[in-house]
């Protein structure tokens, strides 16, 4: 029984990480339809920002080092969002109608960002010391739930709620949904789709930064951390169904749970192989993902 609960918890935890890395992509790829291969590097930027903030606290404010994380979160968000905004402004806006080309161009951006990170922080991985209040865990019925994992779960939940409210309850969010649903119609109604695109892309990129910030809790970070996560992130969004945030949630937790279960019976690498093979097979069966709408326009 306790093994089952631990496995379930591990699955949830992995799912929450998956969701976090895919959340930004669910906006930029899912809603806007932009293929941003540099999404992984925006995660990396967020992670390195957390590292920088932690280093600065260690140097100048060693007394309050426990609270560096609260500064790191907004910094990671805004720096990634800013880079994303620039990316949209100078590159992606010219490629909205050429998805395959935007894939290649953003891959180029990702290589550049990786090299910049390598030049500044060095090629080896660096470790970010998590705040001391996240050490340890709750002991419940003989099972230990680490605080870090619980924190990430909570973090994802908060991000989801904020995103939900932003999209559904604020005028800016509604404009964004209008543009993503029907670009031409929205601009006829007087919505500046250029502005909305830029904002949406910045927000999606910001969420990537948040993901990077959270990933520092789980292990050391390096310049290639983005490449490690990018394919997973895209798979989560595609599996869930492009254009549906709720699908992304299902996709993330589905992958998380299934992969911890497979891991339990095989090894970590085999679990990854099995999970990816399963996703590929699943998409053959249901090409539009877990959550989909049948529409009249096919092309």
């Amino acid at each position: 029984m306790s093994i089952l609960i631990t496995q379930f918890f591990n699955g949830l935890s992995l799912g929450s990480v998956m969701l976090l890395i895919a959340l930004g992509l669910a906006i930029t790829f899912g809603l806007m339809g932009v293929i941003n291969m540099a999404h992984g590097e925006l995660i990396m930027v967020g992670a390195y920002m957390t590292y920088v903030i932690q280093q600065m606290f260690a140097k100048y404010l060693p007394s309050s080092i426990d609270y560096y994380y609260f500064l790191a979160i907004p910094v990671a968000f805004f720096v990634s969002a800013f880079i994303g905004w620039g990316l949209e402004k100078w590159l992606i806006q010219y490629l909205y109608h050429r998805p395959l080309d935007s894939l290649l161009a953003t891959w180029g951006v990702s290589l550049i960002l990786q090299q910049i990170a390598r030049s500044i922080f060095g090629a080896p991985n660096v470790a970010v010391l998590p705040p001391s209040w996240l050490e340890g865990g709750v002991n419940f019925a003989g099972i230990v739930f680490p605080y870090k994992r619980l924190f990430i779960l909570l973090f994802v939940l908060v991000c989801m709620l904020i995103l939900y409210f932003y999209l559904n309850k604020t005028p800016a969010g509604r404009r964004m949904r209008a543009v993503t649903l029907n670009r031409d119609m929205a601009s006829c109604l007087g919505i500046s789709s250029r502005k909305v695109d830029a904002y949406a892309f910045a927000i999606g990129s910001g969420f990537a930064g948040l993901a990077g910030c959270a990933l520092t809790l789980l292990g050391p970070i390096g310049p290639t951390i983005g490449t490690y996560y990018i394919v997973d992130a895209f798979m989560v969004v595609i599996l869930g169904g492009v254009g549906k945030l709720i699908g992304t949630i299902f996709g993330a937790f589905g992958i998380g749970l299934v992969s911890t279960l497979t891991e339990y019976s095989t090894s970590t690498t085999m679990a990854k192989v099995v999970i990816f093979a399963m996703i590929i097979a699943f998409l053959q069966w249901k090409p539009s993902g877990l959550v989909s709408v049948k529409t009249r326009s096919l092309d």
């Binding site: 894939l103 951006v109 090299q115 595609i238 085999m270």
Partner: protein, 355 residues
Amino acid sequence: MKNKTWLYWLFFLALFTAPFYLTEFRLSLLGKFLCFAIIAVGISLIWGYTGILSLGHGVYFGLGAYCMAMYLKLEDSRGHLPDFMEWSGVEKLPWFWKPFENPLFAIFSAIIIPVLLAAFLSYFTFKNRIKGVYFSLLSQAVVVVFVTLFIGKQEWTGGTNGLTNFSTVFGFSLSSPLTQIVIYLLTVLLLCFIFIFSRWLTRSRFGRVLIAIRDSENRVRFLGFNTTTYKVFVYSLSAAFAGLAGVMFVLQVGLISPAMMGIIPSIEMVLWVAVGGRNSLIGAIIGAIATNSAKSFFSENYPDIWLLFLGGLFISIVMFLPNGLAGLYESFVQRKGRRERRKNEAGSHVSRSVS
């Protein structure tokens, strides 16, 4: 367009005579690049002509290379277990390694395994109408599956280090310059053959069907063509090219590892074609050679700049030169033609007004 054929012959002649004017080191580099050029021709067929962007050709290349490497490894071990298997505590040669003692079987499977995988994958994907970026991303997922598998099954594949330390092929020493020259010439011959074949394909009615699919696949379907068959065929064909390239690659470089078939090499393959011009076969060949020459130049001299350069290349090709070097050449020729025509017209105008 008129009579560029002699230029092609000149190009291949230059490649055939390269052993006379290149040092051994440069020749082996060029041989490696020509293997990449073979892959590039295949990618140009599927991406430039048919509009399918595959980010998974590293796998087909890798599978071809591993098949050949398995044979080379077994020949090197002379009846013993390959060294890496001993290190991982394997006692008996796995059953699927056995047939690779036969070189012909190895070469045959180096082509047929990539083809079967490509056909299997693309048949279902294309039949289910998964296309565009979704196909690209799925093909990337396939890369992840294979790379993880090859790293994870260290006792069968040599893990991260891959397969290396070969000594002979068909009993000839791989380190002798003569063998290397023969292998080089074989590579050129293969490239030449593949180029001519692909050129014939693209200029036939079949090639027009491919372009039509790129233009509007649905429309082709309503003309009564089963587009799935066409796409599966051309995709598998390009996988076969990649597998063959893998065979020649292992023979010349003497090493294959999962890092060479991963996500990054796979997308680099697409870049070669983009640099050369995606819908030009000769452009793809030149692009592969040029990009890789640049790569070896940079990584010999300024390793730090290479990634920046590569990234910048991706962006600038897409933004400013979507048809690559071939497109640049075409527009240059066109502009020259237009200028000459204008000059002629102006001339005739003048003469007319004079008379």
